[in-house]
């Protein structure tokens, strides 16, 4: 199925729907179950905090929801697209057009300015040119980074970098944004600011978000907290 087939895909009104999703890794002769019959539905503008200890499967869940990994079993529907059987190429197209990521270590391209880091999303796919440039400038304005648009990541503070990363995740107007430990590299004050910003931006756009975290304080900003342990989800 391709994104063009969305009309025929399951339309749930949810940003994410995982049904009985399993992910099994083969390590030598052994099998490691990273995700075990996980069911999760995230509404269209809902912010979900995904909390669990290291190795609990939260990163795997996030990767499957974002089309970085394929599930071993189960059904994955993101923003109306059933991506369960997508090929690698289809998943690449899907990631480019339908989801946003903010990574733990920010991971901005170090030799690109803030504006260019947002435009990376446009450059790696079919280019929209002027439309993309206008969108990048608009996002930078909204994120309070208009005067930093031409700065390289090395010239930005930790919070500003995180905001650029959020802008990059929003470039393709995704239905779902996945945040991987967005505050882990920030002090508590800055962490609070960033999470408040994430909440404000997501709510303002009506975009759903899953925030993977160890940090219990983040849960206050989320609409709902989902716990995961040993690959099993518990609300």
């Amino acid at each position: 199925m391709t994104p063009a087939d969305t009309d025929t895909a399951t339309r749930t009104g949810s940003a994410l729907e995982l049904r009985a999703v399993r992910k099994v890794y083969e390590v030598g002769d052994d099998e490691v179950v990273a995700l075990d019959h996980a069911d999760l539905t995230v509404a269209g503008d809902e912010i979900v905090a995904l909390v669990g200890p290291s190795g609990s499967g939260k990163t795997t869940l996030c990767s499957i929801a974002g089309g970085l990994l394929s599930a071993t079993d189960g059904t994955v529907v993101v923003d109306g697209q059933d991506i369960t059987g997508y090929s690698g190429r289809q998943l690449t197209d899907f990631r480019r057009s339908s989801v946003g990521f903010v990574f733990q270590s920010v991971n901005l391209v170090p030799f690109l300015t803030a504006r260019e880091n947002l435009l990376v999303v446009d450059e790696v796919g079919p280019r929209k040119g002027k439309v993309a440039r206008e969108r990048a400038d608009q996002l930078l304005e909204e994120l309070g980074l208009a005067d930093r648009a031409d700065n390289l990541p090395g010239q930005l503070s930790g919070g500003q970098k995180q905001r650029v990363a959020i802008g990059r995740a929003l470039m393709n107007e995704p239905g779902l944004v996945l945040f991987d430990e967005p505050t882990s590299a920030l002090d508590s004050h800055l962490g609070d600011q960033v999470v408040a910003l994430i909440r404000d931006e997501m709510k303002a756009r009506g975009t759903a978000a899953i925030i993977v975290t160890h940090d219990d304080r983040i849960t206050h900003y989320a609409d709902r907290t989902v716990h995961i342990e040993d690959g099993r989800i518990s609300a």
Partner: protein, 372 residues
């Protein structure tokens, strides 16, 4: 692609080592090629200048101009061959030449040719007896129009009446005169080489329009009952002593240099790809395909190689301009420089291919904190 170009522009230091090494390789490649071309040019000019298609040697000479002897009756049979439009004798001898005002032991290395069918740049009718045209290379030795050169131990004098370009032979400057001038000089200095009346060392043959030189060559050898060995000009050049060996040795060195270029590009961009594993993971996560990322690697390798090649071309042209004539046989031709650039570009792309697997294996899931 833009991403790759921006990295080159904004982080040139990252590519400096590869650029420096590839520049050295480019200079080496072009210098070796220039030396080969210079050596071959200095050895084969007299044959390349021939406005003919074939060279006819006696079969016993084993395709050597010095050993070859064509008797008059054989020549008549060659001239009668269908497709042989024009036939002329060609004789050569290598002698020392003395110039007025120079130490008598400071000899010029001269190859004196007697011609009947004019090579390029020479008049159809050879100059009068005792007069010769000189190769341009002899200007560097102080030879000018009107200069008298004393040839051989008998110091037979010939007067230079003009110059001709690119006709050196066996690394020596050549003089071009009539068959009579040649016979006179040889008779006075090398009686062992003197030929009987009507005998020439070799014949050069122009094939008639529409005739295949190779077929005419076969007809000539058939008409002379195997008394001749007829070669195309290209074959005759290859048969010159040392030419094919020079080509073979230099081409092997050039081949090894190209392999080194491949290894350098492969190692450098493999290391760069390892360094970029995290970045590639992020780019894949936001929707970049492996093809897009690999195209960026190739583009960077091509740009680095083009920069190195441009410096190599510039250095070769400077070398060509500053090396004094008659010292190092180096010549920078556009075809050699272009072919060297192509070899380097192919090496760059092949070298990059070793990074392809690594780019393909970058897991976008690694960007989001691992796969577990």
């Amino acid at each position: 692609m833009r991403l790759a170009l921006r990295e080159l522009r904004r982080r040139p230091g990252r590519f400096a080592i590869a650029t420096v090494i590839l520049t050295l390789i480019a200079v080496l490649l072009m210098f070796l090629g220039g030396l080969l071309d210079g050596l071959v040019a200095a050895s084969t000019g007299a044959f390349r200048a021939q406005q003919a298609d074939l060279v006819v040697y006696s079969s016993a000479s084993r395709d050597s101009l010095v050993r070859s002897r064509i008797e008059p009756d054989v020549r008549q049979r060659v001239e009668a061959v269908d497709g042989a439009a024009a036939v002329g004798g060609l004789d050569s001898v290598q002698l020392g030449g003395r110039l007025d005002g120079r130490d008598p032991r400071d000899l010029l290395s001269i190859a004196l040719f007697g011609y009947e069918l004019a090579p390029a740049g020479l008049p159809d009718t050879p100059p009068a007896v005792g007069r010769v045209y000189a190769d341009d290379a002899l200007r560097a030795e102080g030879v000018e129009e009107g200069t008298t050169i004393a040839l051989g131990p008998a110091r037979t004098e010939v007067e230079v009446v003009g110059f001709v370009s690119d006709t050196r032979f066996n690394g020596q400057g050549s003089l071009w005169g009539s068959a009579e001038t040649w016979a006179q000089v040889v008779s006075a200095n090398r009686p062992d080489v003197t030929l009987a009346d009507g005998v020439v060392q070799a014949l050069v043959v122009r094939a008639a329009d529409g005739s295949s030189p190779a077929e005419v060559a076969d007809r000539i050898d058939a008409a002379t009952d195997g008394a001749t060995s007829t070669l195309t000009i290209a074959e005759a050049i290859d048969a010159l002593p040392g030419v094919s060996q020079q080509r073979s040795v230099f081409n092997q060195i050039i081949g090894v240099t190209a392999v080194i270029a491949i290894v350098v590009v492969a190692l450098f961009f493999a290391l760069l790809t390892v360094e970029r594993t995290g970045l590639y993971g992020v780019l894949k996560a936001v929707g970049a395909s492996s093809g897009t990322l690999f195209a960026g690697v190739v583009l960077q390798a091509v740009v680095v190689t083009l920069v190195a090649s441009a410096i190599g071309v510039g250095a070769s042209l400077v070398l060509d301009a500053v090396i004094p004539a008659g010292t190092i046989p180096f010549v920078a031709t556009s075809s050699r420089l272009a072919s060297s650039v192509v070899v380097l570009l192919v090496a760059a792309v092949v070298g990059c291919a070793f990074s392809l697997r690594r780019v393909l294996r970058v897991d976008p899931a690694a960007a989001i904190g691992g796969s577990a």
